[in-house]
Amino acid sequence: MGVTTRIEKPGGTPAAKAPEPDMGHAVIPKERYISPEFMRLEWARMWTRVWLVGCREEEIPDAGDYITTEIGTESLLIVRGEDGKARTFYNVCNHRGNQVKFDQCGNSRTLQCAYHFWEYDLTGRLINVPDEQDFTQGCPKDQLSLKAIRTETWGGFVWYTLNPDAEALRDYLGIIPEHLDPYEFEKMAMVMNLTIDWDCNWKASVDAFNEYYHTPCIHPELSYLHDDVDVQIDLYDRHSRYLIPFQRPAPRVGELQDVPAIMAADMVALGMEPAEFRGRVDEVRRAFQRRKRETAAGLGYDYSRLGDDQLSDDYHYFIFPNITMNIFADRLMMFRQRPHETDPDRMYFDLSIMRRLPKDEARPPVPDHEHVRHGERSLGLVLDQDSVNLPHIQKGMHSMAYKGLWISHIERRIRHMHETLMNYIAI
């Protein structure tokens, strides 16, 4: 099969193929997906040691804005301070253990517990205890202030780690800032923020987006939109990616005379005339990229840091342990997969969409967060197709007859993710 040379922009996202590690062929034990014991190990040795996305910076733009976010059994409170800094705290009042905030987001000048009104400032410091003299043992502020969690920002996201000894975020992210800074996620605006309860282990969801072996099977429509054969897979230190050419049908559909409707829709949106490409469907992708460049300034977009391929293709990144990014020139579709508090058979799928803002468009307010159960609403055709098998995978894995994942070369990002995971578990 022909492999396209990826066009990269000097100083932009590197496109070179990374060396292939030898990861062997061992069966990946199913216990990692279904065992409560393994789930506890994951919590103690992985979730509590890695960097995780807390929220978008734009969700807490002003001093006093806060948001609560859950990971495993912990609830965290992310707050914007008077100094403009985002800080994260364990969301628990040190008096009798009430959660300091239990709404999803809000704004307040101080953080006051709703039970006995202990009050903390935006840096987490305990500043007021009603009838303090009645605590004859005293209320030492250092001991009773909110417990802070390391917080840093990158890409317009607030990241936190429960690990006081973790490396700096930049070191943890490795190649990610170099690769993805050209997209300027921090300038994008969130336009959708949805959580869906899925009845599967969080890794089953991560896996579903780390392989495209299933694409011709469950997404037959996509064969007319992207080439899922000429895909470059790169495995890095912890993270991985694949580069998927869009605006070019997959080889399995054969020679097409006319541009398929699904490709044509994107072309028409750019003012292209699909009929002109009759008999030249293979030329659409490059023409689409050129057109995107030509029209950028008029539409208020600056693609100067993006290579040509990035104007059409999906640069699909996985940031260990739980962030999946479908990245296009104008939009980022992001999945954050969180484990259930106690049940390895359940998870939370956070779906958010960020859109590139044209030069003169003011940043819109962030959308309200929605939380639904699987099947309560459509997530669009592709995600509905992706999610339909997940509860059945989880049930199937519990079978006595099933031992574990039998992984192909095309699915090797799954194996790579497990290697990283097991490096954490092993310590």
Binding site: P220, D330, R331, M333, R355, S378, G380, L381, V388
Partner: protein
């Protein structure tokens, strides 16, 4: 919606005696391919003969518990509503209203269910995604 479909006439598509119970056959009718199904326990159903998965014909499909099982990759569709009941399909198929008059099976060729234009489009979000 109901008002609009009420105007669509019922058309003759087949004889009840054409098909054994449990069998289905495709009839071209006014530019559509209509799959007429004689239900195993009696009664007739008709659908657009196009599986929503890979747009293949379901002629000869098995009928089980009120559902049609696509012979290609096994997707199930409810024959009352057209809803996809199992992977690999998620989109519905079109079910045509049926009337039996004497030995005639009549169908109402309502508009087929629209497929979403952009497979990535998420209801509730403007634009591409």
């Amino acid at each position: 919606m109901t008002d609009q479909t009420a105007d669509i006439p019922f058309r003759f598509v087949s004889k009840t005696t054409d098909l054994e119970p449990g069998k289905s056959r495709c009839y071209p009718l006014e530019g559509r391919n209509v799959l007429v199904i004689h239900m195993p326990h009696g009664g007739f159903k008709a659908i657009e003969n196009l599986c929503s998965h890979e747009k293949k014909s379901m002629e000869g499909a098995r009928i089980r518990a009120g559902k049609i099982v696509c012979p290609h990759h096994g997707a199930n569709f409810d024959l009352e509503t057209g809803k996809a009941m199992s992977a690999p399909a998620v989109l519905p198929i079109t079910v045509y209203p049926v009337k039996v008059e004497g030995e005639d099976v009549l169908v109402q060729l309502i508009e087929p269910k629209k497929k979403p234009g952009n497979p990535f489009a998420i209801p509730g979000v403007g634009g591409y995604f």
